[in-house]
Symmetry: C2
Subunit: 496 residues, 2 copies
């Protein structure tokens, strides 16, 4: 029997049966990018992870409202440093631009990259700057509930008051006593916070701060964490079903979201917390703030000193999906090339299957029949096991082996038309719809095919010692800017 | 001598020399779509018009900050009817969706269509719902200046107070006395407005109204006009250089923007008002609200009863640019097909020119030399004359004639390498950069080229009576799903 969907809930540290709040609908919120720089492999991993989760939930028949935000303001560079300046404003001043122009630019670049990676647009893509009133209302509620305080036009979440009523550190496992001890020495001086673990909900803006709004506490701008509480509750209600994001956001960001939701509504924000693991580069987290990262456009074009070649968006997508989202992935050219090869094999099997039709026969191979059914089941089992795309890809390689048996030129195995259909439907569903793999470029495949014919005709002419004809073909291709290069395995072509 | 840029200012009804406020920078605001339905030809005309204006200003060396908004709330269905319900909310209730989900969906469809039409993303694309505080602040300023009043939680612009200080109807030419006479009979009863020409700045929301925000006047939502005043002043300052939009927006929308800007800041919003004319269908304005419209996706796919065939995005773009933006365009299949043919000719001339190189010669044709210089000048004169793309396209056909003379197979005309370069640079600048025409699909061109070689080789085999070789090529193509069809002018191919 097919097992039901299980998800690893970071909040409990356990795999749990997934049960949505509404019967056939799921509300999912995922932390999107901060748009002050080029999207990199880290962004790709998070967006691909939750894209596949969105796709699989949809495949299971859920109507999913998927909200992924754009942080275009409010992410302080260093929150422990009270002079922390808004990252976007900083870039804007350097470039002498309106900060929203910088944010819009990188938002556009991000969206382009997401489309290249075949990521489905979320149902709602709210902007932090577009929800200032909602953020102010949420902060006001927290103050009303006695869990935040105002100092000099800034508002901080009151962690000491919070721990009287709720469990602090439930997601991240941070122990307050440790933070307490660490902070005592710290609190002398000019720090506005009453307690080290307190965090900003609203920050007073200096006169020259470009992004600022009126609030009950004077002109200022929201702290980083409050936007996600305001926007997820607005569009999904409280609690909603799934909150996703990168593992690096567990603390402080997601821990703060729990504090804010309990603080404003006396309800936890969400039932299931899902966190994707990091992409590492020589074992180090790949992130903008660490300076060791490769942008997606560099990957697509091959223009980075660490890259041996360009990698297509589908290669990147497959590379990321080869691992379970909960594991780290270490970046290397070798593993990307391996991903490219594996992807090509599965894409080719898909094509072979697409043009395969079972011969009318009564003698079906029972073992292969059984194998088909088992592999279909494996696909569901893989995805029902916390969206295990690594296992799913292994199952698809199982299909690939069956397809080889069916199309063996010497002794093809026969299965029933019904089984072929089942295999075909399942392969398409999981390869195209759930994993979201698409052919790289239908046109460039046609170009390859046509070039293949011309190269073959030329080879034949050479074999027939009809050198003038072989030369004619070479010249005609050269005229189109296509160069042929003869090697021991025949000619290869490249565009000049 | 090259004339300077002149623009037709709808405010003065005159062509004026364009002078930007800052020396090398231009601020331009254009009214974007209301995202409650599929984008249609009317949207395409406005976005293509101001895309080309943006491109030409950039070509002239201006740094342009181009703001085009998305109206995702606040456009009342019928403002004279006080029960007017927000269009987006209405759709959302029918579809049982969160209104932002509907707005996001149509925003995505709009952006896709804009990209297909090769429209450059604006520098900032602000959402109306994303600027509620800015709208509230603007309204508060107008009230403070005595030009708006609150009634039952709604706020209206006070036109009778306004006319004591400013000229009402300066853009649209509406005469207040007429409105006055018309409105007297009307003002009895439950109408909250003091005067018929007053318009809503803020509307009180009913309990069930889905899109609503807190304001100093209670919970409600902004009137339609205020968003553009709030967002243009935020990102461009007051006054800025150019305000664009469709001619149908002159009244009441743009007239209201002038009132609001003077009302809040005692300054007019903008120096130059530019309005594109409408696309008509059998002489009637093509618009969603009239029900007689063709969506862009229907045009691209040919799936509308009025369409004889599909028209590519570049055909639509060229069709619109063939007329000056100030003239109406009447839709017909004939004119679209004519546009398609004209576009093909100019694209072909461009390609011929691209691969043309002047032979080394001392005998240049002086008349043609002169013609090149004159045509280059015509391009600038056309665009400097209020962005007259119709004249510009005529000039490019002039280039096309010259290119035919240069490449005449019998008696090619010679011009200097310098003139070839000038011709080439100007053609590229105006065809690709200013008009924004791009090749429909670079890959499909390569496919055509490669197929062309194979068809030629097959024909040669047939001529040589080498029928088995001819058949081999046909078979190989068939295997790829490409069918050859022999006709009296040789074979043509099509994909199955």
């Amino acid at each position: 029997m097919m097992m039901s969907l299980h998800v690893y809930n970071t909040l409990t540290g356990k795999k749990e049966v997934f049960k949505s709040i509404a019967k056939n609908a799921v509300g999912m919120y995922v932390c999107g990018p901060t748009v002050y720089g080029e999207p990199h492999l880290g962004h790709a991993r998070s967006s691909i992870t939750f894209d596949v989760i969105y796709r699989y939930l949809t495949h299971l028949g859920y109507k999913v409202r998927y909200v992924r935000n754009i942080t275009d303001v409010g992410h302080l560079e260093d929150e422990h440093n009270e002079t922390g300046e808004d990252k976007i404003v900083k870039k804007a001043r350097i470039e002498q631009l309106e900060p929203m122009e910088v944010a819009q630019h990188y938002t556009n670049v991000y969206r382009q990259a997401m489309h290249a990676l075949n990521i489905i647009d979320p149902s709602i893509e709210p902007l932090a700057t577009g929800h200032i009133p909602e953020q102010i209302e949420t902060i006001a509620k927290i103050i009303e509930n006695g869990l935040a305080y105002e100092v000099n036009g800034s508002v901080y979440f009151d962690v000491q008051a919070y721990v009287q009523r709720y469990h602090y550190g439930q997601l991240s496992g941070r122990v307050l006593e440790e933070l307490l001890a660490a902070s005592r020495a710290d609190l002398e001086g000019t720090n506005e916070k009453k307690f080290h673990a307190d965090f900003a909900l609203w920050k007073k803006a200096g006169k020259d701060h470009l992004m600022q709004w009126q609030s009950p506490w004077g002109r200022g701008f929201p702290g980083w964490h409050i936007e996600c509480t305001a926007m997820s509750s607005k569009y999904l209600g409280i609690p909603f079903d799934i909150h996703g994001g990168g593992m690096d956001l567990k603390f402080p960001h997601h821990e703060a979201e729990i504090c804010q939701s309990l603080g404003a509504y006396d309800k936890p924000p969400v039932n299931y917390w899902l966190h994707n693991n990091m992409v590492t580069l020589n074992g180090q987290k790949m992130a903008k703030s660490k300076g060791n990262f490769i942008t997606l456009n560099e990957l697509f074009s091959g223009s980075h000193s660490l890259l041996q070649k360009a990698y297509s968006p589908m290669t990147i997508r497959f590379f990321i999906l080869q691992a379970h989202y909960g594991s780290t992935i270490d970046f290397s050219n070798e593993s990307l090339i391996a991903a490219e090869n594996a992807l090509t094999k599965l894409e080719e099997s898909y094509k072979v299957l697409d043009s395969y039709s079972a011969a009318a026969t009564s003698s079906v191979d029972e073992e292969t029949e059984k194998e088909v059914l088992e592999t279909v089941e494996s696909c569901y089992e893989a995805m029902n096991d916390d969206f295990n795309t690594a296992k799913l890809i292994a199952a698809l390689f199982g299909f690939s082996k069956i397809i080889h048996k069916l199309t063996d030129p010497v002794r093809p195995v026969q299965i029933s038309a019904k089984s072929v259909e089942k295999l075909s439907d399942t392969y398409r569903s999981f390869w195209r719809d759930v994993l979201g793999m698409r052919p790289e470029n239908a046109n460039s495949e046609k170009i390859d095919d046509l070039l293949g014919i011309l190269i073959e005709l030329r080879q034949q002419a050479k074999d027939d010692k009809n050198y003038s004809h072989a030369d004619l073909i070479r010249q005609k291709l050269e005229h189109l800017g296509i160069q042929l290069k003869d090697g021991k395995d025949g000619a290869t072509s490249y565009f000049l």
